[in-house]
Assembly symmetry: C2
Homo-oligomer: 191 residues x 2
Amino acid sequence: MEKLDHRARVTRMLLRRAFTDLLKEKPIESISVKELCAAAGINRGTFYSHYQDLYDLRRQLEEELVEDLQRALAPLLENAPSPLEVTEGIFRCLRDNADVCTVVLGPCGDRGFVRRLLEGARASYLAGYTRYFAGASQRQLDYFYAFVSAGCIGLLERWLSEGMTTPAEEIAAAAEGIMLRGVGFLETEKG
Amino acid sequence: MEKLDHRARVTRMLLRRAFTDLLKEKPIESISVKELCAAAGINRGTFYSHYQDLYDLRRQLEEELVEDLQRALAPLLENAPSPLEVTEGIFRCLRDNADVCTVVLGPCGDRGFVRRLLEGARASYLAGYTRYFAGASQRQLDYFYAFVSAGCIGLLERWLSEGMTTPAEEIAAAAEGIMLRGVGFLETEKG
DNA sequence: GAAGTAAAACAACACGCTGTTCAATAACAC
DNA sequence: GTGTTATTGAACAGCGTGTTGTTTTACTTC
């Protein structure tokens, strides 16, 4: 069902490459279909035979990123390793999709997508935490998740802005450390 | 220098009210000047005699929010109270500007503005933390700030989404608790 | 209250982007 | 090679934009 014409695949690839390039320097709302097609060297009419509009194109990129994440995380979650290893796996996968991450999670990214992503992960995270912190109220758990999930995104953006030069494992360790110990993370850790 | 004609002030007020109302249901990029003026009952040409475009209008709203924040925080910072009191003051001020907060910090908000805001607060926060955690590296401090500043925004968005029903003091306490103790926040606190 | 001033309304304009259609051309699969 | 399918190029109406005049309305000052 994924069999596409050679030409169609090349066209889509050109469009996506030009799109991600443009998104590195300007938000989606100030990109026109016309300039995207000019950058990609594609006829404007051809674009409309593949996507409804620019938002449709972005949505498809985002969905593929989610699929990549799920593919990368599935084996990790089956083997039930330490939380740190899962976090490491996430950041490694994000690094391997750096170009798309820059687009959807970066400065000109899609806020709505990030929210959808965190909302999807919310259930499993809360399930895990609720077990260990039965004394905490539902509201406290909600606030905690809201804080740390947004915090991880903020850390990820910081990582993206420095070109992902720091190893994924170190970012994962920082995320784990801050989540577990708050400001205490600064007391003993070294970088 | 702030003296404006009565008519001009009414026009600006109508435009801003209509603008914030529209921003509650759709992002700025899918709002046209035409529909904004129709919603405000203002001639389209009049809009252009006040603002360059919709982004100019949004920028002015954001700047006024910053000024409000600074006015509210100045006395707090002079008296040098506890960090918790400063945090409480911030959340109280945000609650008092709920309509603008919903617009610029909410789901359809201005990502760039949030980044500018946190970048501005970065220096003073880091200065405070560096004093107490001289052992931590610059990079660790950067990561910590990236995490907790984004985390506070995430918590704020959660607060906005529930209509700011929870008292500002409780939200501030949660922010402080998570920043200071991480997941340990869930162990003893009650809600 | 009247004169002068400033803002808003109204209409019209060229411009650019949009989304679609059509015939013509090119590249693909069998 | 033949039929199929994608891409091209051109043309089209539609819509929002930003600007420019002109007229009308509302305010300020005396």
